[in-house]
């Protein structure tokens, strides 16, 4: 039974990665899980300079989910290379560095700096953080900006290039298409949805930044629909993200068109969640007689004559 996957120049032993910002730099969760059993680790976002992050309160629990407003708190590129990368490169799994920046030039500078470091398999470009004042979501909600960044980074690296997309747009497929056109190896979706929590007693917003990013099981249905939408528009691989908590969730993402998945918020509940999901997927394949897990990708059965959702139909007409 084959669970492996080659994505650009990166070879994954299985389809399960841990999502950026939900697994630190690997070392924190190491005592609680077998990092070698992961397909890959997507690091906490790395920016050029260290970022202190937002003031508390940074998190709020919501029905079957949570809001966060961390503000890309991270050690910056120098400390990442000096202090975090040495641990990561010793792990027998693929390392995907997530890059966050406020300008196209900063994205380029960070990527070029990392090009000089060995043992990095891929870059995931964060154009979709809702919790910072500059950059972040401003890039990810403009197709032209997403295109520029993808193009500029593509011409500077042969490593696998993944663009992480926000669901906070009208048609995510347009953005996925832009990434494909400019040479991205894959798109990862979805990042968090903008949300808000209010304390009726204090009559104040719960988060210091008023709004934050919603994640967890609550967003899974949205994520499935977005992956489905994107999969109808592009032919490069999609990495599905959004509320994946069990192996069943992960299989569902493959069926709607994801080639791999990332486990995020579930790791907060159980740092071993991603490994359990990878094992569960393997058992499922064995029990169902699936010889190559790739056979599940996009294998959703839709009865003939079922009206496709409006957004999918619109794109199909466009193709003609």
């Amino acid at each position: 039974m084959n669970t492996s996957y080659t994505l650009g120049s990166m070879h994954l032993k299985n389809r399960v990665l841990v999502a950026s910002g939900t697994f630190g730099y690997g070392n924190e969760a190491a005592p609680y899980t077998d990092l070698r059993a992961l397909g890959g680790i997507v690091t906490k976002s790395v920016s050029w300079l260290p970022r202190q992050g937002n003031a508390p309160t940074r998190i709020a629990e919501t029905p079957a989910g949570m809001l966060n407003s961390i503000g890309l708190a991270n050690v910056g590129i120098d400390a990442f290379i000096a202090e975090k990368l040495p641990f990561l490169r010793e792990i027998d799994t693929e390392i995907i560095v997530n890059i966050a920046a406020s300008t196209t030039e900063e994205y380029i500078r960070i990527l070029e700096r990392l090009e000089g470091e060995e043992d990095i398999a891929a870059y995931e470009i964060n154009v979709s953080c809702p919790n910072v004042k500059e950059g972040g979501l401003n890039f990810g909600t403009r197709c032209d900006m997403t295109e520029t960044i993808t193009r500029e980074l593509r011409r500077r690296t042969e490593r696998t290039l993944i663009i992480k997309l926000t669901p906070n747009v009208t048609h995510i497929a347009d953005f996925a298409k832009s990434c494909e056109n400019e040479g991205a190896d894959a798109v990862a979706l979805i990042n968090t949805l903008v949300g808000m929590a209010v304390n009726f007693r204090t009559r104040r917003p719960v988060l210091s930044t008023i709004t934050g990013g919603l994640s967890g099981p609550a967003i899974k249905p949205v994520a499935l629909a977005k992956v489905f939408e994107a999969s109808k528009a592009i032919s490069i691989p999609i990495i599905g993200i959004g509320g994946i908590t069990t192996w069943q969730d992960a299989i569902e993402f493959l069926l709607v068109g994801a080639s791999a998945v990332q486990v995020g918020t579930a790791s907060f509940r159980d740092p071993d969640a991603a490994v359990k999901i990878a094992r569960g997927m393997e058992t499922y394949c064995r029990e169902e007689g699936v010889e190559d897990i790739q056979d599940l990708v996009g294998a959703l059965h839709i009865d003939a004559g079922t009206a496709a959702p409006g957004f999918v139909k619109a794109r199909e007409q466009e193709k003609v």
């Binding site: 609680y32 309160t57 966060n68 967890g216 908590t245 918020t265």
Partner: protein, 262 residues
């Protein structure tokens, strides 16, 4: 030390004061290694609602069993209150640092507000094993909410005067210190942030060593979510994480702001 991420069996759960419970569970490995001040993250249910674990101090250790104290606050504590012997809960830990009980001081002065009393029975036992004198100042809303189990030399203060000193725990502490000789005190405080802030100011005014055990919203408890920052007084990094760098901080290390409602 080995980390624990497993389901354990609840052995008892009793109400010990108004809306306040003491829950015991069986975990020889946690009982055998837990140090005063450390906490665990509890998953109260297998369901995804409530989604996150909740941090709890271990209150006391009894052979192979550990006890937590909690009061009814929200979804998680209401579910915990329904647990009976034989039910299971998920525990992750031990987490965080410890109280500085090995530091050099003459008398341990415990300052607890409400359910902030939780970590102190275990600390008291360890201090007593070391023959260190312990004084405890305990603040509560009213007499029905006073929990003194496992504590030593307790002085109670209540908001409504229904038991002990009528006023805040800090006022009770100040009054005591003004009329008693206490040998080289070190304050150990846990409670609502407003109380910790007052304790911090009091300790600095009198030049006492003081450490504060903080509560915070927390998603993971192990430093991966970055969700529990507390502002530091100095250094390059503006924030420390309560879960991995705390929950116990020297009172000179951290700054409380108005927006800390907890």
């Amino acid at each position: 030390m080995s980390v624990i991420n497993t389901d354990v069996e609840v052995t008892s759960n009793e109400q010990v004061a108004e809306e306040t419970f003491a829950l015991r569970f069986h975990s020889p490995s946690l009982a055998g290694q837990l140090l005063p001040g450390q906490f665990i993250n509890i998953r109260v249910s297998d369901a995804v609602e409530p989604l996150l674990r909740r941090p709890y101090s271990i209150s006391s250790v009894h052979g192979e069993e550990c006890e937590i104290l909690f009061s009814l606050l929200g979804k998680g504590t209401h579910i915990l209150a329904t647990k009976r012997a034989g039910d299971r809960i998920g525990i992750l830990g031990p987490l965080g640092n410890t109280f500085g009980y090995e530091k050099d001081f003459g008398t341990a002065v415990i300052v607890a507000g409400g359910i902030g009393v939780a970590p102190f029975p275990h600390l008291t036992r360890v201090l007593q094993q070391r023959a260190i004198p312990v004084l405890t100042f305990l603040g509560a809303r009213n007499a029905n909410r006073v929990v003194t189990r496992g504590l030593a030399n307790v002085h109670v203060a209540t908001d409504d005067g229904s038991e002990g000193f009528h006023g805040t725990v800090i006022q009770a502490l100040a009054a005591y210190l003004d009329s008693h000789e206490v040998d080289r005190p070190r304050l150990f405080a846990c409670g609502p942030n407003a109380m910790l802030k007052a304790t911090q100011a009091f300790a600095h005014e009198r030049g006492f060593a003081c450490e504060l055990s903080l509560e915070s919203e927390m998603a993971c408890g192990i430093g991966i979510c970055q969700g529990c920052p507390i502002e530091r007084t100095e250094g390059e990094r503006k924030y420390a994480l309560v879960c991995t760098e705390g929950p116990c901080f020297d009172s000179h290390e951290i700054i409380f702001h108005e927006h800390h409602h907890a």
